[in-house]
């Protein structure tokens, strides 16, 4: 078991965004979280990446408890993520965005940075090459030195994935990676997720595009009104009566 979450709950004022959700995520699989708008998917993802502190419940990655640590500790433990609303560093080039993602592996002390100690130049070259290779691998080779604010939306979506991969996460949380993309671009994301899974990275996918979800995931979790409604393999979930009701209303037969 890569990630285990016990009874996660989080309220915003009077709204119980997530209530008593338990998760067990097997390593090496693609897990999808689906549900109608407002079901609590992004709130759950924000708790799994340490951005929101759960009101109650616990989170374990392998045997390490993360629960209420700050988000950079979640990242250090091996959880990476992308964002539903792009969080690109628009003050940097595409390459620098991905190089920033290498922080956990290419960090340096303040003194070494200020005086540019000899080892640093070599480490920087290594970092740059690794970042360039990652951009190539997500199909952004031609954007290496582009200012990120000059890149099209579809490319930025993949840039965020490349940046998250630069930190070499064990678990990668993707928050609506295909939102706003056309069919071709969605196909590229589909292929990318499969490649990640093949490389042994465990993926959690929050996504509204059901075709994508059904194609790439081995495990689907359905949320509704902040609670876990159903879970299982894609086929079982898509035939589940409660799931159909939640999506289409009670009268759907």
């Amino acid at each position: 078991m890569l990630l285990r979450a016990e009874n996660l709950s989080r309220r915003f004022g009077g709204v119980a965004a997530v209530q008593e959700v338990c998760l067990e995520l097997e390593a090496g699989a693609v897990h999808s979280i689906i549900g109608p708008n407002g079901a609590g998917k992004t709130t759950l993802l924000n708790m799994l990446s340490g951005i929101y502190r759960p009101d109650s419940g616990r989170i374990f990655l392998e045997e390490t408890e993360l629960s209420s640590l700050p988000s950079h500790e979640f990242a250090a433990a091996g959880i990476g993520r992308t964002f539903q609303n792009l969080q690109i560093f628009f003050n940097m080039s595409a390459l620098e965005n991905v190089m920033a993602g290498r922080w956990l592996h290419e960090r340096c002390s303040l003194g070494a940075a200020l005086l540019r100690l000899p080892g640093l130049a070599r480490a920087e070259r290594r970092c740059r090459d690794a970042a360039a290779a990652l951009l190539e691998s997500v199909g952004l080779g031609r954007w290496l030195d582009a200012d990120s604010d000059a890149m099209p939306y579809g490319a930025l979506k993949r840039l965020e994935i490349a940046r998250a991969l630069a930190a070499q996460p064990k678990l990668l949380l993707l928050d609506e990676p295909a939102a706003g993309l056309n069919a071709t671009e969605t196909g590229e994301i589909d292929a990318l997720i499969r490649t990640l899974a093949a490389r042994g990275i465990t993926v959690v996918l929050v996504e509204h595009n059901m075709k994508l979800v059904m194609e790439v995931s081995q495990h689907v979790i359905v949320l509704d009104y902040g609670r876990k409604l159903a879970e299982g393999d894609p086929r079982a979930v898509s035939e589940d009566r409660r799931v159909i009701e939640a999506y289409l209303g009670t009268d759907a037969q």
Binding site: S49, G50, I51, P70, S71, H72, F74, A75, A76, G80, R81, F83, Q87, I88, F89, F90, N91, M92, L95, E96, M99, A100, G101, R102, W103, L104, E106, R107, C108, L110, A112, A113, L114, L115, R116, L120, A123, E124, R125, C127, R128, D129, A131, A132, A133, L135, E136, G141, R142, L144, D145, E160, R163, A164, A166, A167
Partner: protein, 338 residues
């Protein structure tokens, strides 16, 4: 796709960035070396020295404001504490001025760390208010503790001595400040080109995303706040020893605003912009004195027009305007030998 060799463009851009860094530093050194040819008298030397001292503060402040995106409206407080700290240790306790300068700067670093821890949790306007409050407290304390600070009238400061030799005369100070400015720019650029510099720019771009990459935003903000306070305190102490006199006005809110204005005017997130901003806004008032009572009005007008027509600041706008021309020139120069 055929062209996406990866290593090639990245290697060449890296070489270019390194080259630009070294060339910029060489150009700055050349400008500092040649400037005395255009300085007819001690008064112009004095302005050049003040430009250099302000530029050192701005290079440090730009790391915080321009790169990390955190505002400080209290940096004159650090400047003033460095100045008074060194002045008081040297004048009242008889410390050798180099030791007093080092001790005052170290004490300010410690203070910046202590106040930075709570206030850097704040963002935007709230951080501005908190740093503003700090600056005001410092200037009030300096003005009212008149038994040790001399109060609003200020105090005399002993001259700087290095290894027993007194640093005196405009020319000596000019070369000292010039060398320190080059060192400051070098250090600042090293930091920005390092993984730590990227982490700072990252948290400026998005604190959420920086956190998701394992970057501890609070720690990075604190460390750059302390570094920028050290630049301000050291420049403050040097200014006090150079002028031989210090008043609380140097720690005032107005001086804090002046410093931030220099950074913004020159161009945020540009080290040479900070130097250029300090140079223009330190010398311009001297030229505008011929307009007598209209001096401040004109200064204000120049700043407003600059911000309207060059919202990026002076240095980035100039670089964009001159960059293509320079590149053409370089390309032509490269073609010739072949």
């Amino acid at each position: 796709m055929a062209f996406s060799a990866g290593a090639l463009p990245s290697a060449s851009s890296k070489a270019l960035a390194g080259l630009a860094r070294r060339k910029g530093l060489a150009a700055l050194a050349l400008a500092i070396a040649l400037l005395p040819l255009a300085l007819p008298n001690n008064y112009t030397y004095e302005i050049a020295i003040l430009v250099g001292l302000n530029a050192i503060v701005c290079v440090g402040l730009n790391l915080l404001v321009g790169y990390a995106g955190q505002i400080s409206l209290g940096h004159a407080g650090f400047f003033g504490l460095g100045a008074y700290g060194s002045a008081i240790l040297a004048a009242r306790y008889g410390w050798p001025p180099l030791a007093s300068l080092a001790a005052a700067t170290a004490a300010v670093a410690l203070l910046a760390w202590a106040i930075g821890r709570p206030i850097l949790r704040l963002r935007g306007h709230y951080l501005a208010m908190a740093t503003l409050g700090f600056g005001i407290i410092v200037s009030i304390v300096l003005a009212t503790e008149d038994r040790i600070t001399g109060g609003p009238d200020g105090m005399a400061v002993p001259p700087l001595t290095v290894l027993g030799f007194a640093v005196s005369g405009e020319k000596t100070w000019y070369w000292l400040v010039g060398a320190l400015l080059i060192a400051s720019v070098w250090v600042a650029q090293n930091l920005i080109a390092s993984p730590r510099g990227r982490a700072l720019r990252a948290l400026h771009g998005s604190e959420f995303a920086a956190g998701a990459l394992g970057i501890d935003a609070a720690r990075h903000k604190l460390s750059i706040f302390v570094v920028s306070a050290v630049f301000a305190a050291a420049a403050g102490a040097l200014t006090a020893h150079y002028a031989g006199f210090i008043t609380p006005a140097k720690a005032s809110f107005l001086h804090s605003i002046e410093l931030v204005t220099m950074v913004v005017f020159g161009g945020m997130a540009s080290t040479y912009g900070a130097v250029l901003g300090a140079a223009v806004l330190t010398t311009l008032p001297q030229f505008l004195t011929v307009f007598k009572e209209y001096e401040m009005v004109l200064l204000g007008a120049v700043m407003m027009l600059t911000m309207i027509f060059m919202p990026q600041g002076l240095a980035p706008t100039l670089a964009r305007a001159l960059g293509p021309a320079l590149e053409k020139l370089l390309a032509a120069a490269r073609r010739k030998p072949v």
